[in-house]
Amino acid sequence: MSTVASERATDRGVAVELTDLRRTYGGVHALDGLTLHLAPGEFVALLGPSGCGKTTALRCLAGLEDPDSGTVTVAGKDLTRVPTNKRDMGMVFQAYSLFPHLTARQNVEFGLSLRRGSGAQRRTRAGEMLDLVGLGSQVDKFAHQMSGGQQQRVALARALAIEPQVLLLDEPLSALDAKVRSQLRDEIRRIQLEVGTTTLFVTHDQEEALAVADRVGVMSGGRLEQLAAPHELYASPATAFVADFVGLSNRLAGRVSQGRAEVLGGSVPVLPGSVTEGPAVVLVRPEGVRIERSDDGEATVVSASFLGATGRVVASTPDGETIHVQVANVDVPDYRPGDRVRLTPRGDAALAVHDGSDSMGTPGSK
């Protein structure tokens, strides 16, 4: 591996602070008071539904878009009015962005050629970076001679070659097929750990975000809903939106009293920030529900499907609620539509509980 990159790994990272960013297009609030702080060397994924302002946030950080108000601070310096080419940020775009008239090596050398250093140093560094992304043997190819995945690797090498303060990735993998995507995403993470650059990674694929990021920021309507480590985001979402958006949840009518929610005939503790008393909507993960075949069970199996590593049973209760339950994949054949089953919540089943006034999508829509 590249020694140049690894020996610098510890001192690469800088803090990035986006504070109260606002940006409107016509009447659309693309950013509506976004505040997002990245710790030095951190890998943060920005997640959210289409149109929530992820790209706009990234472009404001890169200087490709001017915020109407708010500040962008990197390593303690206010960069809000600094032009893109003076910001020292490496960027990988969703669209293929290699310069078509240059070879892979020349693409990587481009940023270096605008900085100090001899031609020989440049060549060496470009070679190292291409090795780092696993393309050491493709240095003389043009963009049109490479696959989409290879092009994005070169784009990553090009962005990293200038040793940027911050690395920005805007859905760099979305044009690739599933296999290459997961491979490349793990590789991006490996390289990021090696070079230690503070990284903001925009995606709308939650699996991708949860898999690679130190922390995941969930955006909605131009603001940040929650910024937390993946497991925390999944286990204790701060808002109903996050609970609903990240992972799949059942939304069940329940009742809260004394910090416990009554749901599915069981009693479970609720998470902080939930309503404390009275009727409520309880969000329960599919893996938070226990299912048993039982002739006196109240629920009926609607369908059972094999999902590869796991299985899923969809059942309906007498109240007309539809509940998704995760089961082991080998158990799927045991459940047939029409079978009677008993559903009970596991002890740690409840996610967030809110009063139901907040409108959310139906369960199973994600």
Partner: protein, 290 residues
């Protein structure tokens, strides 16, 4: 079934060759006529290569036909200047408009195509007060040597070639993702001049070449404006020469026609003659648009 298809194909081929022959004849006949005229012997009797021998002797041409010599030099100068001004004007402007004010693209297109609808005489009438004003200032600052130069005609020629070069460069800009490429370059630390020079321009190579070739061909063939401004250029010189020495005049005309033809011919190979990258890119973009 297949017999019928073969018959249709045969008929199409005959038709195609028929069209090609007709068109070739249409273009070749005048040229052959010119060739015939310039090789006639004295008094129109017999054959003689005298005219072409004279023309091939540059020294003799320069002394014997000073107007022609001046016209050629002026036209070449005008062609070079017009290309330079046209490129400096169009490439950055069109790139900028595409990136920053895409809504204005229609307006720019309209303005650039406008000269097609304006007759040369109208252009001259409109331009002459501007030239009078410009010449006044130029004389004031630089003296008559510069203010009286025919090369100022290139400004009028830029207007004249605008529709054609606009089309060529627009096609080039359409074939690349200008926004992403320039944003990528800027994020790597390139300022706008570097983006233009090292990223946009190389990718517009064939578009820039076709725009330039078209411009050269148009400028070398321009007569009306130069004549109406009482300036000498290649075509005006040929016209004047035609009154005194028709054979030389026609021979020069033939040379310039063949030259223009070669330029246009070269132009259609611009993309493919370059390095592999340019060719494949062009083929690919053609495939995508198909």
């Amino acid at each position: 079934m297949s017999g019928q298809r073969a018959r249709i194909r045969r008929r199409q081929r005959t038709f195609r060759w028929g069209v090609v022959t007709l068109v070739s004849a249409f273009f070749a006949l005048p040229l052959l006529g010119m060739l015939d005229f310039t090789t006639r012997g004295p008094g129109g009797v017999g054959r003689s290569g005298q005219t072409w021998r004279t023309l091939a002797d540059f020294g003799a041409v320069a002394t014997d036909y000073p107007t022609l010599n001046d016209g050629v030099v002026t036209s070449v100068g005008l062609a070079v200047l017009t290309v330079a001004v046209m490129l400096l004007l169009l490439v950055p402007t069109m790139t900028w408009v595409r990136l920053r004010v895409p809504r204005a693209q229609r307006l720019v297109e309209f303005v650039c195509l406008l000269p097609l609808t304006v007759p040369a005489i109208v252009l001259v009438v409109g331009l002459s007060p501007i030239y009078t004003w410009l010449t006044g200032w130029l004389r004031y600052f630089f003296g008559t040597a510069i203010s009286e130069s025919t090369l100022w005609l290139s400004l009028a020629y830029v207007v004249l070639v605008l529709p054609y070069s606009y089309r060529a460069i627009d096609a080039g800009l359409r074939s690349i993702d200008v926004r992403t490429l320039s944003e990528a370059a800027r994020s790597l630390g390139a300022g706008w001049p570097t983006v233009m020079w090292r990223i946009i321009l190389p990718n517009l190579r064939s578009a820039v070449l076709s725009a330039s070739f078209l411009t050269v061909a148009l400028v070398l063939g321009e007569f009306t404006i130069a004549n109406l401004f009482s300036r000498n250029n290649l075509q005006v010189a040929m016209y004047l020469l035609g009154k005194s020495d028709a054979q030389i005049s026609v021979a020069v005309g033939l040379v310039s026609l063949v030259f223009a033809f070669l330029i246009l011919f070269a132009m259609s190979f611009v993309g493919s003659a370059g390095q592999g990258g340019a060719l494949t890119r062009r083929l690919r973009s053609r495939k995508e648009s198909a």
